[in-house]
Chain length 425, copies 2
C-alpha cells in the first residue's frame, strides 16, 4: 500500500469502507480491554513473590551493625541498603537517602520544600519568586506534570527527540533565571521509551543556567529495567556533572516499584552533600524513620547481591518483552503509510505512538467505542493538552498477550480510520 497521503479520494473511500467493516466486527465482540495502565501484571508480581516470603523472624530483624530494625532510627536508611542501591545504580553510597515506598513522594516533597524554603543555593524560597517556570519534556509523565501544575509553576514544553530532550531549546530556555528545573526520565522514558544520549546528559550538566538553584529532577525509574542484556546504556550523570562542578544541580530518584512490588517497594533519593545537608533536617521534621523492615526484606530477597538483582530483572524483562513484541508486531501494519511513528524500546514500560497530527483524540474515541481503554490523550503533556493531538501512550505490561494482540489490532484500524477521516473521505 502507498502512503495514505498519496491515495486518491476514491482509494481512501474504498480503504475506509474495508476498515470500517473490520472495525465493526471487533466492536461486535463486546470487548473490555485496557492498554492504559503502566503497572505490572500478576505474572510479574509472582516473580517477585519471594520478597514477602523471606524469613523475618526475630534474629533476622537486625541490621549488620546489630541495630534492631523493628524500632525507630536510622533516618537516612540502612547502610547496607544504601550500599546496595549505590552498587546497583552506580552511585555513591553516602549520597543516597533511602525513603519510603515512593519516589514520586520524594520528588513531590522536594519541590514542596523548594517552594517553601528553597533548595541549596536558592537566593530565596521559590514562593518568594515572582514566577517559577519548569521545563517539561513532552510527551512525558503525567504525574510529574501534576506536581508542577499543583505548585503553580509555569510549565514549558520541550520536545523529546530520539536521543533525549531538544537540548538547543533547553539551553535557550534555562538562560531565564525564572526557569528552575526540568523533569527527566532519562532511560526508557515514560512514555517515549527512549534513552538520553551521553551528549544530552553532558549538555544538561554543563549548560549555563540563569537560576543559581536550577534542578534536574532525574527520575531514573527504569534504570535497571532492560528487557535483556542488550539494553540501553545511560551515562552516569554525577560523573559527568563532576567535570563541570554541577553535582548540586541534580536530584536523582528511583525506586523498586517496578523491581519488586509497586507500593510495597523502596524509594531513594541521591544528591550531593550540599543538597543533603540542606534537605535532611526537613526529612527529620517530616518523619522519624522509614520502614527498615522492608529495607531488610529487599536485601534478603536479593541476598544482598546486585548479580541476583540483575538476574531478577532479566526474568521480569523477558516477561515484559513478550508483551512488547506482540504490540510492536501488530503495529508493523502501520509501516509505510506515513500516518504514524512509534518507538521500539529495549526496556521500560511504554511505547509511544504518534498518529497523524490532529487524530489522537479520534483514535481514543474509536478505541473506547470498541471497548479498549487507552491512556487519556493529552495526559502525557502539561495541563493535559497535546498541542498536536497526536500522542498515544501504550502500556502493554498489564494485559495478557492475547489482549494486547487484539487491542493493538483494533488500534491499527483506528489509527488508519482516523487518518483517512483527516485526509478527507
Amino acid at each position: 500500500m502507498n502512503q495514505y497521503s498519496e491515495l486518491t479520494r476514491d482509494e481512501r473511500i474504498r480503504e475506509y469502507g474495508l476498515l470500517t467493516s473490520e472495525y465493526e466486527k471487533y466492536k461486535g465482540l463486546g470487548l473490555s480491554l485496557d492498554l492504559s495502565r503502566g503497572k505490572p501484571n500478576s505474572t510479574q508480581l509472582d516473580i517477585c513473590q519471594g520478597l514477602v516470603e523471606v524469613d523475618m523472624s526475630r534474629e533476622e530483624c537486625y541490621s549488620k551493625s546489630g541495630f534492631d530494625c523493628r524500632n525507630y532510627g536510622i533516618l537516612e536508611g540502612l547502610p547496607e541498603m544504601r550500599e546496595f542501591f549505590a552498587e546497583a545504580y552506580g552511585l555513591n553510597k553516602e549520597d543516597i537517602v533511602v525513603g519510603g515506598n515512593s519516589s514520586l513522594q520524594l520528588m513531590h516533597d522536594a519541590l514542596m520544600r523548594a517552594v517553601l524554603f528553597g533548595v541549596y543555593g536558592s537566593p530565596r524560597p521559590w514562593c518568594k519568586e515572582e514566577r517559577v517556570k519548569w521545563i517539561c519534556v513532552t510527551p512525558g509523565y503525567d504525574r510529574h506534570f501534576r506536581i508542577t501544575e499543583m505548585l503553580g509553576f509555569e510549565m514549558i514544553n520541550v520536545k523529546m527527540l530520539k536521543d533525549g530532550p531538544d537540548m538547543d531549546e533547553v539551553e535557550r530556555l534555562v538562560k531565564d533565571p525564572a526557569v528552575k528545573g526540568i523533569w527527566c526520565i532519562p532511560k526508557y522514558s515514560n512514555p517515549s521509551g527512549n534513552t538520553y544520549s551521553d551528549e544530552v546528559v553532558r549538555r544538561l550538566v554543563s549548560m549555563e543556567c540563569g537560576a543559581p538553584d536550577f534542578r534536574i529532577m532525574w527520575d531514573n525509574a527504569y534504570a535497571i529495567h532492560d528487557f535483556d542484556e542488550d539494553g540501553d546504556k545511560l551515562a552516569n550523570i554525577f560523573e559527568l556533572a563532576d567535570e563541570y562542578g554541577t553535582r548540586d544541580r541534580i536530584f536523582y530518584v528511583s525506586s523498586t516499584s517496578k523491581v519488586t512490588f509497586p507500593g510495597g517497594g523502596i524509594a531513594f533519593i541521591c544528591a550531593s552533600e550540599n543538597n543533603r545537608k540542606q534537605f535532611l533536617p526537613y526529612f527529620g521534621t517530616q518523619v522519624i524513620s522509614y520502614d527498615k523492615i522492608n529495607q531488610l526484606r529487599h536485601l534478603k530477597f536479593f541476598g544482598g547481591s546486585v548479580d541476583n538483582l540483575h538476574a531478577h530483572m532479566m526474568r521480569l524483562g523477558a516477561e515484559i518483552k513478550k508483551k512488547f513484541d506482540v504490540a510492536l508486531r501488530e503495529l508493523d501494519a502501520l509501516k509505510g503509510l506515513g500516518i504514524a511513528e512509534w518507538t521500539e524500546p529495549r526496556g521500560g514500560y511504554f511505547i509511544s505512538l504518534d498518529t497523524m497530527p490532529g487524530t489522537a483524540k479520534r483514535v481514543f474515541e474509536l478505541m473506547k467505542d470498541a471497548g479498549v481503554v487507552l491512556t487519556t490523550v493529552g495526559a502525557t503533556f502539561p495541563y493535559g493538552i497535546d498541542p498536536e493531538d497526536r500522542n498515544i501512550r501504550l502500556a502493554p505490561t498489564y494485559p495478557s498477550l492475547e489482549e494486547i494482540e487484539l487491542a493493538t489490532k483494533i488500534l491499527v484500524i483506528s489509527v488508519k480510520l482516523a487518518a483517512l477521516e483527516k485526509l478527507g473521505i
Copy 2:
C-alpha cells in the same frame, strides 16, 4: 523530712553533703543510661514479632474484594484496614484515609499543604496570611513544635493542666483570626501522661474561633495504649463536634508505631468529608498508593479482630507498666519535699517531672555527669525554651527495669541537689 523550703541553712548544708556523697558514689560507677528515648524496647517488639511472620504467600496478598495488593491502587487504604481502624478507634470508616508508616508525616504534610494551598474553608493559603499563630500545649511533643517552627508559625504556649490545656486561655486566644490551630495529644499526652477531660474536648469543638479554617491537630498517638483495663477514657471528639457542627475543625491522626513496630507500622488520618475532598487530590499528587502489603500484614496479625488488638495492647501495657511502677516508686522519695511534682499516667510512654523552677537544666547536667541521659531540657517547649526551666520528660520504656531503678535513684538525688543549690547552701 520537712519541705526543703522550711529547712534552715545548716540543715540544707548537711543534707547537701549527704546527697553529694551519695551522688559521687553513683558517679563513680561509670554508668551509661538513657531515659530520653520514647521508644519501645526489644521485649515489647518481641511481643509484636508475629507481624512480620504472618503468611504472605501469593494467595494471601489479595484483599477481601480480590484486589492484588502487590500492585498499585487503592490510595485511601484497603477497605478492611479502614474498617479495622474505625472499629478500634471508634471512628467512621469512610472518614479514614490510611497513609504510610508515619502519623508525623501525615501531620507535617497536612500543614505544608495548609501553608501552600489552605485547608477546607480557608479564605486563602496560609502563606498569604500576614501571620499564622499556633497554640502549643506545654509541655508537649518536640516533633510537633519542630513542624510549626519550620513553617514559621508563631507558637503560643498554653499550659497543660490536669484535665488538658488551660481552656480559658485557649478560648481567649482563638478569638484572634491569626490563630489557625492547636497541637493536641489528647490521651496520655506526651510528656505529661494525662488525658483531656470530656469538658475540655467539648470546649475545643464548641469554642468560637476567629479563623474560619481553625484546625485541631488531634494526635491520638496513645489512644489504645492503656497499661491495663483501668485506662483513661477519652471523649469521642467527632461525636461531640457533631453537636456543634464543627467536624471540619478536626484532623485526627494515629498510627501503629507503638502498637507494632515504630517505622514499620501503619498511620492514618481521619477527617470530615469536606476535608477529605479537599486533601485527597493532593494525596494523589504525592503518591500513587501506600504499602498495602503492610496493611494486610497488620490485619492478619490481629486476625482482623479488635479484641485481639486489645489483648495485644494489654500484653504490651503490662510490660510497660512494670517500668513505670519502678520509676514512680523511686520518685516517691521526692514526696513531701515541695521541690517536685510528677504525673502518674495509666498509659502511654512518658512521665512528666516538674522540678523546682529554675533547676531543670541543672538536674540535666548532674544526670549527664553521672552518666544518665535525659531528654534535653526545653525540648518539650516551642523553640526549645522552658520558660520556667522546670520540666523533665522521663521515658521509661526503653531501658531495663534495673537501669530505670538506678537512673531514677540518681534523678531523685539530682533533683534534691539542684533544689538545695537553688535555695542556697
